[in-house]
């Protein structure tokens, strides 16, 4: 065996191990859904069952938590996407130290542990406005960092934007409002969609921040965590399996759309 074949063989083996490591745990978790055992496991295998999907369907508190998560997700889209858009529009037109400074402040929530985002929101809103934990604070706390993700998406798209289009429209007598509605906004529509999608997903799966600001409300992710600790049955696996299937579907569709968009808009470089 030559050195080159050995290296190729070793690389292949490493990749198989790595991707196996990524996917096998998820596969085991999914398989445990169908094992007819009261506790979720794959060993020993006690026979195939679909009963845990039925148990999940009948779980009232799960549906309530799902409703809360959907509400919070919608709220975060409504708050974080416009904030991120405004921030990107501002940054796109600044070229100075002010831009660097603002940019650093805007991305700082992404470098802050989620628990601290939750804690600072909780303390601030109680002390200044007397607002305690609940849906409202959950939406605000999540939006404070999800807006930064949205901002990055918008900024990336704005960098490829041909600003002469706006200038030409203004020269031809369009008002600023018309230019924004007819040129800027339509150009940004794909980014608005992907930012909304991302914002919802981030909100839906958030645990660390939500835990501190949720008050008495329970989102689906918080509900799953509480079920794992007390009252774990394979119904939790069934729920996880459904969520993972939906996420994979969403991720694949998102990637396909993103790549199609990237092909249609080759970089000027």
């Amino acid at each position: 065996m030559t050195a080159a074949t050995f290296r190729r063989w070793a690389t292949g083996a490493y990749l198989v191990l790595f991707f196996g490591y990524l996917f096998l745990p998820l596969g085991i978790m999914a398989a445990a859904t169908f094992n007819s055992s009261r506790f979720p496991t794959v060993t020993p295998w006690m026979g195939f069952t679909l009963q845990w999907f039925g148990a999940l369907w009948a779980d009232q508190r799960m549906w309530q938590a799902l409703g809360t998560s959907l509400l919070v997700g919608a709220g975060v889209i409504a708050v974080a996407v416009p904030l991120g858009l405004a921030a990107a529009l501002l940054l796109d037109r600044l070229h100075s130290r002010a831009r660097t400074f603002l940019y650093a402040v805007m991305v700082s929530p992404l470098l802050t542990p989620g628990v601290i985002v939750g804690i600072s929101t909780l303390v601030f809103w109680r002390e200044w406005f007397g607002v305690t934990g609940g849906l409202f604070l959950t939406i605000l706390a999540q939006s404070s960092f999800i807006a930064a993700y949205a901002m990055l998406l918008f900024l990336a798209r704005l960098q490829r934007f041909d600003q002469t289009l706006e200038e030409a429209a203004l020269d031809l007598g369009a008002t600023h409002g018309q230019v924004f509605r007819r040129i800027t906004l339509p150009y940004l529509t794909p980014a608005i969609l992907s930012a909304s999608f991302l914002a919802f997903l981030q909100s839906f799966e958030n645990y660390n921040t939500t835990l501190f600001v949720r008050g008495l409300d329970t989102t689906l992710t918080v509900y799953i965590a509480s079920k794992v600790r007390t009252g774990l049955t394979p119904a939790v696996n069934a729920l996880s399996l459904i969520l993972i299937a939906l996420t994979i579907l969403g991720a694949v569709v998102y990637e396909i759309l993103r790549r199609r968009e990237a092909r249609r808009q080759p970089d000027p470089a």
């Binding site: 690389t11 445990a32 060993t43 405004a86 501002l90 700082s108 794992v228 994979i248």
Partner: protein, 294 residues
């Protein structure tokens, strides 16, 4: 600022400025500042707020120093998060290098998709997957006993080892993408040239690949460390009373101890730890803030 006004007009500019100010002041800067202010005040009943006892004090910070249990948990959080960061870096580096430099171009889209998909899956669910694996009656114990390594199943959940193993799995993708992105811009010809000139693979990595990928490595380490040190989900699911994490201590100050000021002080200490790690990485890899915040 004039450029903004010229481009968007007065109405839109006002709306933009208002939105950005609301975001940064009400949701980012003021809450952080108030949390710090709060952490230097004693915990008082509402009737005594603003009274003679409401003075700035370092008492909440001294607690960490005097409470041996909390201090031990804090120190463990530091070394365990460092360990998680080091292991993920070691595991991810070869994968990132393969994806960025070696992989045939036609195979790349599928490989990237295979990395992206688990990245999208809920952190809590990825943690839960390891709960199943590490459970007392779980597959890992079945394998260990089946191979004859142990005569009976071991307790794999509820200890530090389980938490660390879970964290490596959950945060690994935050390491692989930054390194991969940084390596992609390295011209493959440079590696070819070095090889033609007789450099071995170790030297190629030390002198060409790693220096080029430094900003990506720094970002990956910063993200992984921050996520590990600030993790609540992983220790909550995979740990136990014997393996508490610093975030769990903070949570208890808020919702069981009822001492928010004390909790705020601990939260600020955690934040300082993360900032210190960022500064350390910047020094170690000699990269600037602009390289990191890209």
């Amino acid at each position: 600022m004039g450029g903004v006004l010229r481009r968007y007009g007065p109405v839109l500019t006002a709306a933009i400025l208002l939105a950005v100010a609301a975001w940064l002041l009400l949701l980012v800067v003021l809450p952080q500042l108030l949390m710090v202010d709060f952490s230097f005040r004693p915990s008082l009943p509402p009737s005594k707020a603003g009274g003679p006892e409401d003075v700035y004090t370092l008492r909440n910070y001294a607690t960490l120093w005097t409470n041996q249990i909390h201090l031990a948990i804090f120190l463990k959080t530091i070394w365990a998060s460092s360990l998680v960061t080091a292991v993920t870096l070691a595991v991810c580096y070869p994968v990132a290098f393969y994806m960025a430099q070696v992989a045939p171009r036609r195979r790349l889209p599928l490989l990237v998709l295979m990395l992206v998909v688990p990245f999208w899956i809920n952190e809590l669910l990825r943690t839960f997957a390891w709960y199943i694996i590490l459970a007392f009656n779980g597959p890992l114990n079945a394998i260990l006993v089946g191979l004859g390594l142990y005569s009976e199943p071991q307790r794999l959940l509820g200890g530090d080892a389980g938490v660390i193993v879970g964290m490596v799995y959950v945060y690994i993708l935050f390491m692989v993408f930054p390194i991969m992105n940084a390596m992609e811009s390295l011209d493959r010809n440079q590696i070819e040239a070095a090889r033609d000139l007789g450099a071995g693979w170790l030297r190629i990595h030390r002198r060409i690949v790693i220096p080029h990928a430094k900003p990506g490595i720094a970002v990956g380490c910063i993200m992984t460390f921050m996520l590990a040190a600030g993790s609540y989900a992983v220790p909550a699911l995979l740990g136990g009373p014997q393996s508490r994490w610093f975030t769990e201590v903070i949570y208890n100050w808020f919702f069981e101890g009822g001492n928010w000021n004390q909790g705020a002080a601990y939260a600020f200490i955690l934040l300082i730890l993360c900032v210190a790690f960022i500064l350390l990485m910047m020094r170690l890899f000699r990269v600037g803030l602009t390289d990191i915040a890209k």
